[in-house]
Symmetry: C2
Subunit: 933 residues, 2 copies
């Protein structure tokens, strides 16, 4: 006792018994060590042991010659003496040998970093004692040969194969297939050979001194912190020194589950990690060691059987489970061993589980009073929720992917491949399930999206047109699957080695980006009772409202079911692309005069009014924010190349038709000349030229317009309000459609909340001019319908200059909505479509940029602009409503930032609504510790 006191006063304490270590100091004791201390101290039956701290490890590694810090050796010896007292055994005592396990454990879990050394303390003498004690020679030699190999490999750095080779030779010589077939004698021989292997490889005999064994093992653990595997792992998972620095060493008394029929070993979860159900869950094996479970030679039994097989043990296990949950207030993943009727808990940690289980356990644990609702909310990662809303591939399928793209929009779908939108629509209408497969998609493919189960493209990134639109619609999409070569002309595509034709079935998994041949069954999504409950709690703590981006009543309806509190962005141009409208839109674009343009617009008006009315009704009385036309109008026309090809084709056709016409003419002439009367008119040939000429003229007109509209940088081009002001009749039509829809709803007694939003604004003057149109149309509509028309008028904030002029804009606008897609492009000067195909992946891989700013809001740059905008805007108009409707509006870290700078709402695609609701709650619950650069 004197020595111990002396060490304590002279040196730092590096070693802590399980009884004294601070269970919350993972930094000092490592996660595993702290947990062993904590379990011990709350009265669970943990085999006695101690922890050597991470400080000891760092001191060791910092010393020039890697020598253990002063006092460590003494402290370890003292703790061994304590173990001897607690177990009544002796370390190195041949009569009653104390055996221990040695394992590493740092503050952050780094699985598989270093193997555990079991049975340390064996040598030829203690082995004899062990055999005497257990009366089981085979057990003894088996433990011994395992110890020599593990120690040789882990502590002495000898390659496994050096052991495996002689081992296999002996098995071969004896004609034994499985290890279990080896007798005690075989195992003794193997032990001896292994001792020789160690002597040969290290040049020294195997250490028989148990203290020497222990010291070597401890050094090995320390050294492993600077091993390549560990360094790689920390780099890969971004583990920095402030998160984990150095590893602790856990030394624990061995217990044996293979001592006979009253011994066993098992693992369990405190609840079902697949479903979340509150039941005993796990497996065990009687008379076995943990390794046996892994080896898979014997099939473990479900824990429920233990109730009959070992009823008392089962009662204790239920008790253990309850104590674990009551203490940790979290589902636990635990390991235990029963040694001769005594239950030991060897390890516990928070259980990993899928989203379904996480949601259910959260809600149930809150309802049981185990945790409160805030804890329940914080327990679920918002990102996980999205899995719950899409069909998933049946996890039991075994098919290999034929191609791999980007996981552009989650969910899985099977269907027949089609290579253009028209075919997709045609087949889709006839009830067939189709997957639209394109090199890339354009706005004119939109009707194909509606008809398809999913979209697959061979080009484009996660924010390509296909990806954005598919996400908006909640349809699965795999984008940029480069292994696929689409040949539209021949209606086929190369999928890796195979050529698929239209109609062949494939399956895509938008959650992983995998593409499979044939149909793979899917599992339907579930919006469970528990999820609804959890999100209800979320809404009550969140300050941010969650809106949705939706252009159709179907999407709006789904979003409302997911809890959307309104529509934050309705893109009116999506409606222009439907097949019944596109020809009218094309007429509008080709118009040479304002009158011609007006005529086309007059035809569009009732259609748009109908769309808006439907949306307003679905969402009533929630707000619906309608954005006026945004994209450049050339997006509604085919590409120059396509038109050139079509014209070529038509001109060929004209030649053919002219030939036929000439032939017919010649025949008629001949007929007249020979018979004296003209023949009956023929059903074809004549008039054909006029038809073809008309088609050529129309295409030529389109081609001219496409060329006229060509822009070098369309993203920064003639679009949004710029277009709206140069062709004011387009905006006037859209505004009228909105206000008439409001008026009709109002007359129908439906309370609706419409908002008109102007895109691409850079100066308040633009907004004022649109406001003039709005005011005029409002007066007209109010007079025509005889009812006041209520609505709000606001602006997108997606042009940087708009941020700088927030004060002036807030003078005109009643609300702001950040269009962070465009704002990000303009802030970075990155063209999204180009960057994601060119340098952005490189930027992310090399860490120049941590995230793709088109997915995760760049809070330091774009966010800074947003913060200024909100502050300046509210200076002018304190009650200014501000939201975000860019892609990032559904991303948890972005939502957190939006909460932080005081936005009123975020708007995202329907399937992201639940994610956003939970993220908004998280933001509110954790706002105190929010920091930005």
């Amino acid at each position: 006792m004197e020595a111990k006191t002396e060490a304590k006063t002279k040196f730092k304490q590096y070693v802590f018994s399980f009884q004294e270590g601070d269970g919350h100091n993972k930094k000092l004791l490592g996660g595993k060590g702290a947990n062993l201390c904590e379990m011990t101290q709350i009265g669970l039956n943990v085999p006695p042991g101690f922890v050597i701290s991470t400080e000891a490890c760092l001191a060791y590694l910092d010393s020039p010659d890697h020598s253990p810090p002063d006092g460590l050796g003494d402290q370890v010896q003292q703790q061994i003496r304590v173990l001897e007292q607690q177990t009544g055994k002796g370390f190195g005592d041949p009569k009653n040998p104390l055996l221990v396990s040695v394992r590493s454990g740092s503050a952050m879990s780094m699985p598989g970093m270093m193997d555990t050394i079991l049975n340390l303390g064996l040598n030829s003498e203690t082995l004899a004692g062990l055999i005497r004690q257990t009366g089981n020679q085979r057990f003894g030699y088996d433990a011994y040969r395992r110890f020599i190999q593990l120690f040789g490999k882990v502590a002495l750095g000898i390659a496994d194969e050096k052991f495996d080779k002689p081992f296999d030779e002996i098995k071969k010589r004896e004609g034994v297939k499985a290890d279990i077939g080896l007798s005690a004698d075989h195992l003794r021989e193997i032990s001896e050979v292994f001792l020789e292997v160690v002597r040969h490889e290290t040049g020294r005999p195997f250490p028989s001194n148990v203290y020497e064994q222990l010291e070597i093992a401890i050094r090995a653990v320390f050294n492993s912190w600077l091993g390549k595997r560990a360094i790689d792992y920390r780099r890969e998972f971004h583990i920095t020194p402030d998160m984990a620095n150095g590893t602790a060493v856990n030394v624990c008394t061995m217990v044996f589950g293979n001592m006979g029929s009253s011994s066993a070993t098992g693992v369990g979860f405190t609840r079902n990690p697949g479903t979340g159900e509150n039941v005993m869950y796990g497996e065990y094996l009687v008379n076995a060691q943990g390794e046996d479970v892994v080896a898979g030679i014997r099939t473990p039994k479900p824990v429920q059987e233990m109730e009959y097989e070992m009823p008392e043990m089962y009662r204790q296990l239920v008790d253990l489970r309850n104590r674990l949950e009551n203490h940790y207030r979290e589902v636990q993943d635990y390991e235990y061993t029963i040694e001769n009727g005594t239950l030991y808990c060897l390890q516990t940690r928070n259980g990993k589980m899928n989203a379904v289980a996480r949601v259910r356990t959260s809600v149930e644990m809150a309802n049981e009073g185990l945790i409160d609702r805030e804890q329940a909310l914080l327990r679920v990662d918002p990102e996980e929720l999205e899995q719950l809303l899409h069909p998933r591939l049946d996890p039991k399928h075994t098919v290999n992917a034929v191609a791999q793209g980007l996981s552009a929009s989650p969910g899985a779908a099977s269907g027949a491949v089609v290579f253009d939108a028209d075919r997709a629509e045609l087949l889709g209408r006839s009830g067939e399930k189709v997957i639209l497969v394109r090199e890339e998609t354009k706005p004119e493919d939109i009707h194909g999206f509606f008809a398809a189960q999913g979209i697959l493209t061979s080009r484009g990134g996660k924010t390509s047109h296909a990806a954005v639109v598919a996400r908006g619609m909640g349809k699965p999409c795999v984008a940029g699957a480069e292994g696929i070569k689409v040949d539209v002309r021949n209606r086929q595509a190369q999928f890796g080695e195979k050529v698929l034709h239209e109609g062949d079935i494939i399956t895509i998994d938008g959650g992983t980006g995998n593409v499979y041949l044939g149909e793979i069954p899917t599992v339907a999504p579930e919006f469970s009772r528990e999820l609804r409950a959890l999100l209800g709690w979320a809404d009550s703590v969140a300050r941010l409202k969650v809106m949705t981006n939706a252009d159709t009543a179907v999407a709006a309806d789904q979003a409302r079911d997911y809890g959307a509190m309104g529509i934050g962005l309705c893109r009116t141009e999506r409606m222009f692309n439907a097949s019944d409208r596109l020809p009218i839109v094309v007429d509008m674009i080709l118009a040479n005069t304002t009158e011609e343009r007006q005529a086309a617009l007059d035809r569009l008006l009732p259609i748009q009014r109908g769309d808006f009315k439907e949306l307003l009704k679905v969402m009533a009385p929630r707000p619906v924010t309608i954005r006026l036309l945004d994209p450049p109008i050339h997006e509604f026309l085919p590409s120059e190349k396509q038109l050139e090809q079509e014209l070529d084709h038509l001109q060929q056709l004209r030649k053919t038709v002219e030939g036929v016409t000439d032939l017919v003419g010649a025949m008629r002439l001949m007929h007249t000349q020979t018979r004296g009367t003209p023949p009956m008119p023929l059903p074809f040939g004549e008039g054909g030229t006029e038809l073809v000429n008309a088609a050529i003229a129309k295409k030529q007109l389109m081609l001219n317009k496409v060329r006229e509209l060509f822009e070098i940088n369309p993203m920064l081009g003639h679009r949004g309000v710029r277009l709206g002001l140069t062709y004011p009749e387009i905006y006037a039509m859209q505004i009228r459609a909105v206000l008439e829809a409001v008026a009709e709803c109002t007359k129908d007694g439906i309370v609706v909340d419409a908002e008109i939003m102007v895109p691409q604004v850079c100066t308040s003057e633009e907004l004022k001019r649109v406001k003039l149109i709005v005011d005029k149309v409002k007066r007209e509509v109010e007079t025509e319908y005889g009812t006041p028309v209520h609505f709000k008028f606001g602006t997108m904030i997606e042009v940087v200059r708009a941020c700088m002029r927030a004060r002036q804009l807030a003078d005109v606008a009643e609300f702001f909505s950040f269009g962070t897609n465009d704002l990000t492009q303009a802030s970075f000067s990155f063209s999204r479509e180009d960057a994601e195909n060119k340098f952005l992946p490189f930027y992310n891989e090399t860490g120049i940029l941590q995230d793709n700013p088109f997915e995760v809001l760049d809070v330091n740059g774009v966010g800074q602009l947003m913060r200024l905008t909100v502050d300046w805007g509210r200076k002018e108009r304190p009650d200014l409503k501000v939201g975000i409707c860019g892609e990032q509006g559904g991303h948890p870290s972005s939502i957190r930032f939006c909460h932080h700078i005081g936005l009123n709402y975020v708007s995202c695609s329907p399937p992201r609504v639940p994610v956003a609701r939970l993220a908004a709650a998280h933001a509110a619950l954790t706002e105190e510790n929010y920091r930005t650069d």
Copy 2:
């Protein structure tokens, strides 16, 4: 006297005699009235008169029935009485009639707004008196008929033609050609006819009551303020009510220069307005009225002759000139009349003059002590200076323009038209003067720019490639001349009606945008002694330094002569386009491996090093800021279309060559078969296929690369530092070239100041990575050359996010340079090239945006970003050097803003350097009253 006192006490004073009016209150008395008062009060001999204030005008116009304000009539009568006392004449007195002139005059000069009414006060009775007094019947009737017509037109609103018709009839009847041929009798008859015209047109007799005449005239002046002409003029010249509101009325005693040989009339400038020389300058006519000078019947004499003809009058005139300049301390444009040996000064105003004269008079007046140097500086508009630095068209030419484009780069030039850059280079080298005429230019045309006198394009705006490059080189450019259709294939172009072929001579005037056929002589520019003096004074008061954007030693040399204090922007890519380098650059781009790329770069290194060394030496010891490669590399390749055409052509060629080869083969075969021996080899046909195939392969490679590099929005694409980091060997080469150039100069004993600048930076991480390359190359170069290498490392600020991250960037960068071209594009989300062809003109015309932000810095938006950047950057690094190198850096209002936010320098094209130096001085001198929105 009682009445006068009463009026004064009861009503506001609306009428002011020239003796009492406040000469500085132009707002109240109008410019002309205030001047008349001031001249009277400083003792110049001004004919007596009075001013009716603008307040009277506004009161009149504001009253519902347009009635003069109370008291006005009385005050006018009192002033008439004062005039009568001063002149001893009587208003309406037949014996000794007082005649007056009535004219308008507002606070802002609005020339030609309303004609002056002369000789008011004439009627049949006073006319008789006038004739009696002067003894000159013809003079009397001439004055009378002129008065009736002028009054009829100006005050009564009768069209001129009503008078001109009968007047011409009488002249025709009498066989008289010129007015001078009319006798007194004719003029009397005309007067009578004119009185009848007035009666017929107005339905009332011509007012014979002189007070009625005066009242009608005053009302006419008042009404003219709301006339269409006045309103249009004020709109056109942006005259707002706070600048001028209402017009004053000036009533002045008539004096007559046509009273005999001791009478005269004349106009003069106090200095020569063409050259600025300090001499008597002007013309006069003896026995004449002002109108006679205008009519051009008699030729006026230069004022110098008066010294001999009327020596006493000349002495008085010299005295008048001196008193005017001493009082106004500004060159005056004055009018005078000598009536019977008495000199009257009728009017004076600040003299308009050209830039040459303005500079010279400013410097000389300062040297004479008339004004101080600050006043001299402020007296010259910086924009004027640019005219002085370019050849101008001889102002005497009379040729009409054949086309009109935008004044894209100032200066005039003549030369033979050529339609491509290669021809321009070829002809230019042979000493021919050429004008490069293109639809639009691209970077690969750069060698044509060097060779040409000027550039003319039929497409593109003031910031098109042609305009920007030409301005950078200081070459004249007319851009977007839509009347010209270029037909490159046939080497001809349609100029309006005419077709010009290569070699035909044209002249372009980049100052006006005019294009002329043939050669028009030009006037050489002069960088005069006075201009140097003025700019020297400017530099001593300016806080901003003025740098230049220059890529060649020639440009740098010129800029230094213009006073550039260094190079603020050297675009290294300009050097890549020279014809000896472009092939190497293309090889670099086509390289498939880093090694191939390095090989090309190794060839570029010595060339770039030479360029930099030359620039550094020319500018030594001034700073030279070298920007690393900025544009996307596809700019160095031909367009996809061009390559496709070239490939087509080559494939045709291959067929031909193959045909020839076949033919040759067949002939040889035949020869061998018939003669038994093979023929001599032929000089062509064989081996041709290989040559063509090699060419095809190369072009195909280029085409593939162009397609691979295609970007949807190249402005936001893979360029600048993004390129520099993905191909670090390119930047490494450029950095090495700079540092080796520095090392060589240092070893040569030349003190140079190099700065390396990184373009397109959006995050400090990019800058740090480039810095790593810089540090490595620095160490290597220092070792190789054995000399320390000093330079600065900094960044362009042209990406919005860089502004937001200014603090973090300032941690790495020693200087910032705002690239306001790109920053403006990103802030507005306007693609410059597209916007200027599409909606921007509409935006400017309709006032949505006041200026083109690519020409004039948008201080409210882009400027706001700049202000934040400077503040944040200097928080991190208080001595951070900050400048601007965008187009707008040479624009005075932009320079003023740059001064205001504390920049250290502006950088602009060489010809803008003098402008910028003066503007920088103005900014410093007027900083106190600077305001932004």
